[in-house]
Symmetry: C2
Subunit: 242 residues, 2 copies
DNA sequence: GTATAAAATTGGGCCGCTCCAATTTATGAA
DNA sequence: TTCATAAATTGGAGCGGCCCAATTTTATAC
């Protein structure tokens, strides 16, 4: 990625862990690491802090830093491929080929809910679109999205059939990299049964997301209905009992 | 909470935001904040960094720090009551009174899956228990948990009927504060229909969690089946398109 | 006016140090 | 040997500084 000190340390430490260099599951103390990497303790702390946030290691004041024993295992629920999966523009599935079909593409006024979520006035317009997403030609997700026209004036059905976020980044020079996500589940509705080939008793997973530009502007409100077999969200959580 | 500098700054800044002190949605620059709070810029950075992680503010190099416009709003999908809701030992529901009923409580050998997830040998024993949880006397969740006996030798059905984590903390002096969570959904099975009063087409939300002690020891593996109407998980995600 | 270039602003990264708190280890008395 | 105490270890918090990169603002030229 970048040539940042703490990033390189993370990469290096991960490799050391993978190579089984810390057979006792214990990392060297921060001061030693700082010396052996010839960097400041601050940089070591930054690296270890991030790794702890990702659940790779555990830090305990007074005793040391330890490898998460499940980080190495295969087959356990731990996959650790990334922090939080499931919501990339191009659902980076495991080798499966993604597809998109645009079902609707309109310009409308936002309803009250949308006005709140995208911080809009009732008079402003939003693009409204519906997309069906595929993995290896199998439909797995119905996506309903809303984007204020003022934020992406040139948006088109053509762009929606490819990647909206890529367009925003390359053509508008903006970046979408934060989301507020609400995850839930529902019985499948008519649309779900039809488009996702669900039977009556099979549910959909629901992911409602507000996507933000890097300066905090709410950019898109999206409702994603997923076939329940494709619905999986992993996360490492700090319960913060403090 | 604590009397840490960066915590106090976070509290203060949140208040300022709530009070509408930054009507242009823009916070003072870090150097100014450091001066006005009479702290180092490092502490300001730490405070702002944490607030950015929580989605309260957005930082953009070169331009400044901005309040998330949705942080203030009501009615929007944003609740922001905490970081990630949904998984406290005593599901801290909004004023609703929690209840627990222990359905099963045994000691067994772990199967292969459990051995992986709790890092156990086949010969070791685990407590196996099933609990039904209520909110205002309405059942909403079936919980199946496994805890190695070596980690909590004195565990009992009595303790399971109250709070296991509170017991661990107060009696064993350990702390459970990290979880690896996998979230998904399923059609309701017989157990769900019966105990959660679900009809055939109504699903359950599934949360599989591995709970860790503060030193990284996997402490409990838990499968939580939730009535879909009580199943909601909020999170603020960094998509990390970097 | 408008486009270009320079300067100022602002957050990012890194250093190296001090002091502190939690924990572990070593010490020594009973 | 046991147990209380002291010392050493280890991560946490905080400071104040340096330089850099992205962005915005200002100044300058045409």
């Amino acid at each position: 990625m970048a040539d940042l000190v703490y990033q390189k340390i993370i990469t290096s430490l991960k490799k050391s862990i993978d190579d089984g260099e810390y057979s006792d599951m214990r990392l060297p103390d921060e001061r030693s690491l700082a010396e052996s990497y010839s960097v400041s303790r601050s940089s070591i702390k930054r690296a270890l802090g991030l790794m702890a946030d990702q659940g790779i290691i555990f830090k305990k004041r007074g005793s040391g830093t330890f490898v998460n024993p499940l980080y190495l295992k295969q087959g356990s629920s731990f996959s650790y491929s990334g922090k939080n999966l499931g919501i990339t523009d191009s659902f980076n599935a495991n080798g499966q080929k993604p597809g998109v079909k645009v079902l609707k593409f309109d310009v409308v006024h936002p309803d009250k809910d949308l006005q709140d979520n995208l911080f809009l006035k009732p008079s402003e317009f939003v693009y409204s679109f519906e997309r069906l997403r595929f993995l290896d030609d199998v439909p797995f997700m119905i996506e309903t999205g809303y984007i204020p026209i003022k934020l992406a004036p040139e948006l088109s059905e053509q762009i929606a059939s490819e990647s909206i976020f890529n367009y925003v980044e390359s053509e508008l020079g903006k970046e979408v990299n934060k989301t507020y996500l609400t995850i839930s589940a529902q019985p499948s509705d008519e649309e779900g049964k039809e488009l996702l080939n669900l039977s009556a008793n099979e549910p959909v997973g629901l992911m409602e997301g507000i996507f933000f530009l890097d300066d905090g502007t709410p950019f898109e409100f999206s409702t994603m209905k997923l076939h329940y077999k494709y619905f999986k969200y992993d996360s490492f959580v700090d319960l913060g009992n403090k």
